[in-house]
């Protein structure tokens, strides 16, 4: 007989009451443990789980910062970073059909054979082409080929190319400045990439900002003092002069006499900063800053200014220069052309070595040294350019009389072109020297440090004007419509410790002489043609650049044009 469960005799047995209570207690305890654990996880010790959860949908993204642009004083772009694409491949994944390879190769500007060679490489990663324009990259992306990828990079472009190469410089890998302004002002130009933590939804869209870990710092734009039009004039005329005179190298600096801004600076030979494959050391040299040379006669006005400033000489004090030779110790100083009695002004005008030496020897060496030092010779300008040098100015206590005499006409002392240009500022600005600036200044005039009296500066200016007029050394520096003042220099080069038959021709001057606005310094290294005098080689460059510069800046003429034509103003524009 089957026994029904309900009638099981086991059930009728009485159970002890503690068993039910025990069970109840156990269940309750388990429940309490669960509640406790969940409280612990949710409320008290929740950091770990929270972190795990967030990591499922939180992302840290890099925010790139672009390098600032370099602009000229009118806002024209001289250097700009723009994104480009680089195409790379994983050769193992990139199994292209012949048709695909034929489509891809022309987009990469390469032969099909070369492409196949790159794709059959053993490496895991090959760059097919770096830094291609975005449109080209888009067309490659549209082909949708397996194993071909792109990545974004920044590339710096220099639209002015070789014209401004030495001033602007360039950046290297990692977008850091290596030369020129790019290095000098790297701090301001470079940006700092940042990062932030965000929440992304399942479609990959950012839905919430959690925190900004590091905010990016965009590179700041830099406005240079450079005027790209004057720079182009300076560069093209210098280039022409170097070709015409078969010279080895050259440099030119244009300064604003009022503010001390560097309006143009060019060196030759130069290079194209956008394509630096074949770069040689000579091309890279920023001569105006890094090469010192013996300036020759362009130094004479400083000694003349000292003579006038100390009151020992006057504008018209006569000096005997005949017979064009002066022997000091064992050495003899001579003039290119012998003159008779000259006034101080004529010594500058005719560029007499004997005359200026006689003036120089009336001063103790210490006084002359102090004058050269106050003009900034012997110490770098500290504008931040790489390789900036100060030139050579030996301490006065070692000077022998012959050295003191040769220094007065620019031998035995070496300077850079930019130092020389800056020193002439003292004559262009009533005796004070302002600091130079590579960046645009908003004030129109800069305060300077006085080195000569205003009277001295005006008198030297008048002497320098004579040097450019007929009877002076540089009539080729004249500009129609403007009064010009300046000084030529023709110095022998030193080779192996002795003066060689090679020259450095230079011209430094300013205009308009009635109220100088621009200072132009030109240096031409080893002119190989028939002419080698500064008045024949460097002065014409000065005149062309100065004329163009004054016209560009709209400076009013201060001399009559010959023949002068005047027109009556039509009624409409009155």
């Amino acid at each position: 007989m089957r026994l029904k469960f309900a009638h099981s005799p086991l059930l009728s047995q009485p159970l002890p009451a503690w068993r039910a209570r025990l069970l109840q207690g156990l269940l309750l305890a388990a429940f309490a443990a669960l509640i406790g654990r969940s409280l612990f996880l949710q409320g008290i010790h929740n950091d770990f789980l929270q972190k795990k959860g967030e990591s499922r949908y939180e992302r840290v993204i890099e925010i790139s910062a672009t390098r600032g642009r370099i602009l000229d004083r009118h806002g024209d772009v001289l250097a700009v970073s723009t994104p480009v694409k680089s195409v790379w491949a994983i050769p193992e994944d990139a199994r292209l059909s012949p048709a695909q390879a034929r489509a891809l190769a022309p987009l990469l500007d390469m032969e099909v054979r070369e492409l196949n060679r790159k794709l059959s490489s053993e490496k895991d990663f090959v760059f097919l082409k770096r830094q291609i324009p975005p449109e080209q990259a888009d067309r490659i992306a549209a082909l949708d080929l397996p194993g071909i990828h792109q990545q974004r990079e920044y590339r710096r472009y220099y639209p002015a190319g070789d014209v401004m190469a030495h001033v602007i410089g360039f950046t290297g890998v990692e977008d850091a400045g290596q030369e020129g302004v790019e290095l000098a002002l790297n701090q301001e130009l470079s940006g700092k990439p940042g990062s932030r933590r965000v929440i992304k939804d399942r479609r990959g869209q950012i839905v919430e900002d959690v925190e900004s870990i590091k905010s990016p710092v965009e590179g700041r734009d830099v406005s240079l003092a450079l005027d790209s039009k004057i720079q182009y004039l300076a560069y093209s005329h210098l280039k022409q002069a170097i070709t015409d005179n078969k010279a080895k190298a050259g440099g030119i600096v244009v300064l604003d006499a009022k503010s001390g801004e560097v309006l143009a600076l060019a060196n030759l030979p130069t290079y194209n900063p956008n394509n630096r494959v074949k770069l040689a050391g000579a091309q890279l040299r920023n001569r105006a800053f890094t090469d010192t040379f013996e300036p020759g006669s362009t130094m004479k006005p400083f000694t003349a200014a000292l003579a006038l400033d100390k009151g020992k000489f006057r504008f018209d004090t006569p000096i005997q220069t005949a017979p064009g030779k002066l022997t000091i110790g064992s050495a003899t100083i001579s003039d290119a052309h012998a003159h008779g009695v000259l006034t101080v002004a004529e010594v500058i005008q005719k560029s007499s070595n004997v005359g200026i030496s006689k003036i120089a020897l009336t001063f103790p060496p210490q006084e002359m040294w102090a004058m050269f030092d106050s003009m900034g010779f012997g110490q770098p300008l500290k504008l931040g350019f790489p390789g900036e040098v100060g030139g050579r100015l030996r301490p006065a206590k070692n000077w022998r009389p012959i050295e003191q005499a040769t220094m007065s006409y620019g031998h035995g002392i070496s300077v850079t072109l930019i130092q020389l240009a800056r020193a002439y500022m003292a004559f262009a600005r009533d005796g004070d020297l302002a600091p130079l600036s590579l960046t645009r200044l908003d004030a129109s005039a800069t305060m300077g440090q006085s080195v000569f009296s205003a009277q001295t500066a005006r008198e030297v200016r008048a002497m320098l004007e004579l040097a450019v007029l007929p009877g002076g050394t540089a009539p080729k520096a004249q500009i129609p419509g403007y009064r010009v003042a300046g000084k030529t220099g023709t110095a022998h080069k030193i080779e192996g410790g002795a003066y060689a038959d090679k020259y450095v021709s230079s011209f430094v001057g300013f205009a308009p002489a009635s109220d100088p606005r621009l200072i132009v310094a030109v240096m031409i290294d080893e002119p190989g043609g028939k002419a080698h005098y500064g008045g024949d080689v460097a002065a014409p460059v000065f005149a062309q650049v100065m004329a163009g510069g004054l016209r560009t800046l709209g400076v009013a003429p201060d001399a009559p044009l010959k023949p002068l034509q005047m027109a009556s103003v039509p009624k409409e524009i009155r």
């Binding site: 639209p159 003429p557 034509q565 005047m566």
Partner: protein
């Protein structure tokens, strides 16, 4: 008492729904902002490329070449300049 609780429950539900909808709206607006910022960056890039293009076309060497060769222009000789006196 039960009535008050019911009303409070209703209020709680309404506010909970409002919170959900406003957080949804906030996210939508945030996505919009992100997109606009992305567009801003793209326009910035395009601007720099256009500037680059402009300065390439306006290159002084190019302008001079066209002026001299194509348009047969040259700077006037000093004698041919007429200065107009301001009144």
């Amino acid at each position: 008492m039960a009535r008050l609780n019911l009303i409070l429950l209703l209020v709680a539900v309404i506010f909970a729904l409002a919170a959900v909808s406003s957080s949804h709206r906030a996210r939508k607006l945030f996505i919009g902002l992100e997109n606009e910022q992305k567009r801003m960056r793209e326009l910035d890039i395009e601007w720099s490329q256009l500037q680059l293009e402009q300065s390439t076309w306006a290159n002084h060497a190019r302008v001079e070449k066209i002026a001299r060769d194509k348009l047969a222009m040259r700077p006037p000789a000093a004698g041919r300049i007429i200065s107009v006196e301001a009144q």
